[in-house]
Symmetry: C2
Subunit: 571 residues, 2 copies
């Protein structure tokens, strides 16, 4: 590619709405352009990166025995009704009505479509397992699109779906996919961490997310410094340290005028916040449930959803407080609370020397002891873990870091095959639901995550495997005949080897060329400066390390060949 003829509209200024490096740099380097909120054009160099990532994904999927298909974006409402997700998906699904007044969704994910395909075309155990994937455009009407490609409304995903005879088969396929995913992210140049994750709107029981650690990550990950335990913070477990001890004193009612928050009350009482029992009122499918957590912890709604076995719940709103007037907002507490189910965080089991609301305006109780003073219907893990907590697996210390989710795998079981009747006949002629898994990679999101992990203040630093091209030739004075010829000779030699590379044939100052080259972030750079006139050597620079070596034509080609060969070894 000759830079003078390639559409690479670089910008000096960052776009006003760009808050993070990948957004800023991908726009400035002319890889993407915003069309509307969360919607982007991919320009020639940007699309090349996407296609490189797609290539790695295809290789790993095919190697793992998955077969590529292409499913439609427009999906009829009827199919989504079968799984119950037409209503469940809510406003995140883009929807339209065709000229015949039929409802369609623009696929945010394709479980229904693929299950419909397989139930109509596969009927025997001999045809299983079956593992299908696609790479295609997805839509999600994010409430607040931002961060460029990280939270877009139209984006590219690889989504895959497996169909097995039974749970064992599903688990084997899941493990194959898990490994393949790891290879995809490693080959794309990312450091990553697989973590236990919630299954959300997709469903199923077991799930892992693939997280690329990055400061700007939207997810928090808890992981053990000593063992392999890692989980999304919304799911991470931790070991409780045993109940707080008290001194056996009787419950005492204390006047706490105008003190309502944990901070206010614990400060007033001279207690550590962890000695407070926070009593949170939830309306769960129209029924009030009290959730008790230590005063220094936050309740975790993802964990609560599992305990409540429903996603229809909310913290009491103004209306709910009015509806249950015997619950006094700011003063509810478990002692003497009647007719309400109480769930408590495991840390509170047997805790003594605690304080809580007195169910009376402007009063709290102290010296409260769980068991002695109040019972609960159940103990469970209902709070968020935090840095320094104890690993639930090995007793080590948990750390917390931010990460970008680039992939997720799910063991679906019969979540879709059962309601949609996707069954097969087993060896004995009995009809059984297929056992499914589903696997997703955010392709354009991965592109952004790679940039988050690979950039400096001057620009992007593409890993070779996903770079738009391996080499950038920079003749610093293209008008000067000998340097121009040196550039053209190297360009020809690379093309003869089948390498698509970028030649900066523009009549620009050296400063402009270097600044653009730093911004574009092509891994290797062959600079042809004044030195070339003396020794006839190119200066081969490595964008990632800043390393510079003098090399003649053959040596430049050898270096590149070696680097490209090492990629092939990863294949």
């Amino acid at each position: 590619m000759r830079q003078s003829q390639t559409f690479i509209p670089t910008l000096k200024e960052s776009p006003a709405d760009a808050e993070i490096a990948s957004h800023r740099l991908l726009v400035r380097a002319g890889f993407i352009r915003k069309v509307a909120s969360g919607i982007y054009d991919f320009l020639p160099l940007g699309l090349r990166v996407v296609q490189k990532i797609e290539g790695i994904i295809r290789q790993e999927m095919n190697r793992a025995g998955a077969q590529e298909v292409q499913l439609p974006i427009m999906q009829p409402r009827e199919i989504w009704e079968e799984s119950g997700r037409w209503s469940k998906y809510g406003p995140e699904m883009m929807r339209l009505v065709d000229r015949a007044e039929r409802d369609f969704g623009l696929g945010p994910t394709h479980e229904e479509i693929i299950t419909d395909l397989v139930r109509s075309n596969v009927s025997s155990y001999r045809e299983l397992p079956l593992n299908l994937y696609q790479i295609g455009t997805k839509f999600r009407d994010e409430i607040r699109p931002r961060f460029g490609l990280l939270r877009a409304r139209e984006f590219l995903m690889k989504d895959g779906y497996s169909f097995d005879r039974d749970t064992d088969g599903m688990v084997r396929t899941y493990e194959l996919m898990y490994e393949a995913y790891g290879r995809v992210f490693t080959r794309s140049g990312c450091t990553w961490r697989a973590v236990e994750a919630d299954t959300g709107l997709i469903g199923g029981d077991i799930s892992h997310e693939f997280m690329v650690p990055a400061e700007v990550g939207e997810d928090s990950i808890a992981f053990c410094g000593e063992c392999s335990y890692a989980a999304n913070l919304e799911l991470a477990a931790y070991s409780r340290r045993g109940p707080l001890q008290g001194e056996g004193q009787a419950v005492e009612k204390v006047s706490t005028p105008d003190k309502r928050t944990i901070e206010e009350v614990s400060g007033f009482l001279g207690l550590e916040p962890e000695r407070m029992i926070k009593c949170l009122m939830f309306l769960v499918e129209d029924r009030p449930i009290a959730v008790l957590v230590p005063g220094d912890r936050e309740a975790n709604e993802v964990k609560l959803e599992r305990i409540f076995s429903t996603d229809e719940f909310r913290l009491f709103n103004e209306e709910d407080w009015k509806r249950f007037p015997h619950m006094l907002q700011g003063f509810v507490g478990p002692v003497g609370m009647e007719g309400v189910e109480i769930i408590a965080d495991s840390a509170l089991e047997g805790a003594a020397g605690m304080a809580c609301g007195a169910n009376e305006v402007d009063y709290h109780l102290r010296n409260v002891e769980q068991g002695r003073d109040f019972g609960v219907q159940g103990f469970a893990d209902v709070t968020f873990a935090r840095e320094g907590d104890t690993c639930p697996r090995c007793g080590g210390i948990l750390k917390v870091e931010e990460g970008i989710e680039v992939g997720q795998v799910f063991q679906l079981g019969d979540r879709y095959s059962h309601p949609m009747g996707c069954c097969y006949d087993d060896e004995n002629g009995n009809s059984r639901p297929m056992i499914m898994g589903t696997y997703g990679i955010g392709v354009t999101r991965l592109m952004a995550a790679i940039v988050e992990q690979h950039h400096d203040e001057r620009g992007i630093i593409w890993p070779l495997s996903v770079a738009p091209c391996p080499l950038h030739i920079l003749p610093l004075d293209y008008e000067e005949e000998r340097r121009k010829e040196a550039a053209e000779e190297l360009y020809r030699s690379c093309r003869n080897r089948g390498w698509e590379i970028l030649l900066d044939d523009r009549m620009e100052r050296a400063g402009v060329k270097f600044a653009d080259a730093d911004l574009l972030g092509i891994p290797y750079r062959a600079v042809i400066g004044k030195g070339y006139l003396e020794d006839g050597k190119y200066e081969l620079q490595v964008r990632a390390t800043g390393e510079k070596i003098k090399a003649d034509l053959e040596s430049v080609l050898d270096h590149l060949q070696e680097a490209l060969d090492s990629l092939r070894d990863e294949d």
Copy 2:
């Protein structure tokens, strides 16, 4: 690919809604599956064909200097308002409203999006010409989706857009694209014909369609048997044979009770239909215009749109006839017609001995002579050509055939750059609108067109260049050890050469294997039957010709290598 593990759900029966061969065979062979009206899944073999076609398109586009980008499907209404097409596109554009109540269209085509991209990022004559293309999913809410991939609502298109400094530059780019298109269709195995075409909703002045002749084509093409003239029938010109002569008699008013149609009146009067003047009343932007055509010809609304310079016109409806009561439906004629503009087909200039409506109920006039008895405001070509007409270019004889439109190229001029302000500064610093072209290929439509040209009663016959794979290995008894090993050895040898091929490793009867192989239509087939046990030779069969030769392993590989090399020569 091992057939036992590949998702190829073939069917014995054709789908009920399949009216044409490509629809029937692509579904039966397990290449595609219907999801909803005009919406399809592409299964593994089908997607492979799509990707082969995409590969050919990419090669030809890149070779012609076009650069690949990816533009979004969701397009904001505001951009379409700028070109005036938000309302013009009508119900064919799929539309949706996002959660913030903003309107979007799902791109049926991307002129607005690309013009917006280029106007914001290109400003100097030095950056032109620029030629960008993409391959992506398009939507069109067809009023009656049918014929499988031929008239789908969600489909794959390659669309390209060029930006030049001036008309000369645009014409040069147009010619480059025209040639590249021809190569794409030839390399895809199609015979094709480029024809002059209407520009429709896209706009611009000059356009050519690439037509693949096929019985089931939705378009008719007129072409000359002697010269290169060819045009879509809706646009095809033809030379008139000179006016009909009369005998100079005076106009005669004849009672024609209850005779209204051309056939009724001409029969009643004993005249050839061509001696009748058909007088059609159009309401053009709220103004009546009479269009005169010979009684044996049909008025052509595409030609009329150009003459009227507006698409806001219609044949009089009941309401219009009531609104202009002096026009008598069934008896209008040009003689004595007042206050109405009259346009006549060129064939009527100076025509004599004609008959027409008398503007009086149940009366017609005969012996009418154009010029003597009535004048017109203009003569023009307003009728359809037909088989046997005279070529407008060389005087040869026109033929008419049916064809499938697989591509179209347009000289847009400043149709979009002018209203949208897509301008550049020329050498003298003057701002000028860029001069654009636009170029489209229906990728999935081309796949169907290829099948229409390449099939027999048993199945598809893929051209090698777009076949899902080049070779199909058919061991007729896979359980028999020597034949199994012969199949596996050939399979391994092909894979070692980097060829992806299909091995029918299913435990099926020979009849089933042959029937499926015929249906799938892979170009070469290596059959391992009983003969192999005697002579150790494969039977290499050519699907297209039925040719069969005995060949040992090396010879099979050589044959294939030669065939594949000949494709590469086309590259």
